[in-house]
Symmetry: C3
Subunit: 151 residues, 3 copies
């Protein structure tokens, strides 16, 4: 079954490929690695939420944001390589969570992204990861995620 079918079974679908929020490109391929620019939770041109976790954005909403970042990243990868089925493995996720001082549950936010990738791709979806807090993110985003994948 294709990855996009699995996505549909989860009640999710791929958005249009994201446009960059600046003077850069969504993906750059070098050899068999694709580097995906940091994704924020834009859905149909609107941020799913904005603000810091957890004072302004609760954990449930932060999880939704992380999922949207993954969907946008997948759309960018598809635009680069033609199909999500061309992905051999995910290599690294960089997850930045806009955090109140003293917030320590960045991994729980990041897990929403990691778990979706494993649901979709199985062992190919597993990856190394750095999840850290950030004082402020572009567009007021609660979460930003960048990806390295092998194709």
């Amino acid at each position: 079954m294709s990855i996009e079918s699995t996505l549909a079974e989860l009640g999710l679908s791929l958005p249009p490929a994201p446009k960059p929020a600046g003077a850069y490109i969504p993906t750059r391929r070098t050899g068999n690695l694709v580097f995906v620019a940091g994704q924020v939770p834009l859905a149909a041109g609107q941020m799913v939420a904005t603000g810091s976790v957890p004072s302004q954005v609760n954990m449930e909403t932060a999880h939704k944001c992380a999922v949207q970042c993954v969907l946008n990243g997948l759309a960018a990868i598809k635009a680069e390589v033609g199909s999500l089925d061309a992905i051999k493995q995910f290599v690294r996720l960089g997850v930045f969570v806009c955090s109140d001082a003293g917030f320590t549950e960045q991994p729980k936010v990041a897990n929403a992204a990691s778990e979706l990738l494993v649901k979709l791709f199985g062992d190919k979806g597993r990856h190394a990861r750095a999840a850290v807090g950030s004082v402020a993110l572009p567009l007021g985003s609660p979460v930003e995620i960048e990806f390295i994948v092998e194709v």
Copy 2:
């Protein structure tokens, strides 16, 4: 025309290769990828500015800082591979902007770096990018930029 000629036409020039601010090296090559250590806006041994954006450092100065980070990164790459003309493509920029809580325009700061690379290198200068806010950076820097390039 060589990249350094283009740089001169823009009224810019390459500084001496940066010295690391710690126990590491400015660049590490693996295969045809060169990883460049995080650059801060040192020019002739002095920081272009210090502090958080925008309360202590305005956008215009932040742009200047981003440009200086790029110049220092280019000098480091030249020291590694001999000539900027050996660069096949930029792959990824990691851009950290020392940010007040609530500041959301990290992409605008990062654009000063990205746009300079495209002016200098054309399509080869385009790259994936993560731009995030940071509560504090080395030497009080308003901006830190790291690079991955393919040679």
Copy 3:
């Protein structure tokens, strides 16, 4: 002399391979590169320290944390490739230091990690590095370090 013998001479030893703090894996190999997930200073299941540098965690303790992150990273690499002697070179360290606003000595904290790698691996231990401040880190960690190594 093997790397683990050198480690013993320094009075250090390799902990058991770290378990991930979330839905990801400690290492992902692509070609001859191993990406190591962000490590926090867990030792025997306890954090060496928690809090922000320097108000809650002083420099000496922050150095100890950075060393523990390296030991955990080395344990993860050994679990992936069988022996630390298989490492050809360290490529990049990403060092996040939980920082008070205005703290600027992230490189000094990161140096504890970088210097240990050079003591253990000589020139192979040298690496490009980004050291930045973070408002908050997983588990309240003062330091998080991720690695890219060539094997």
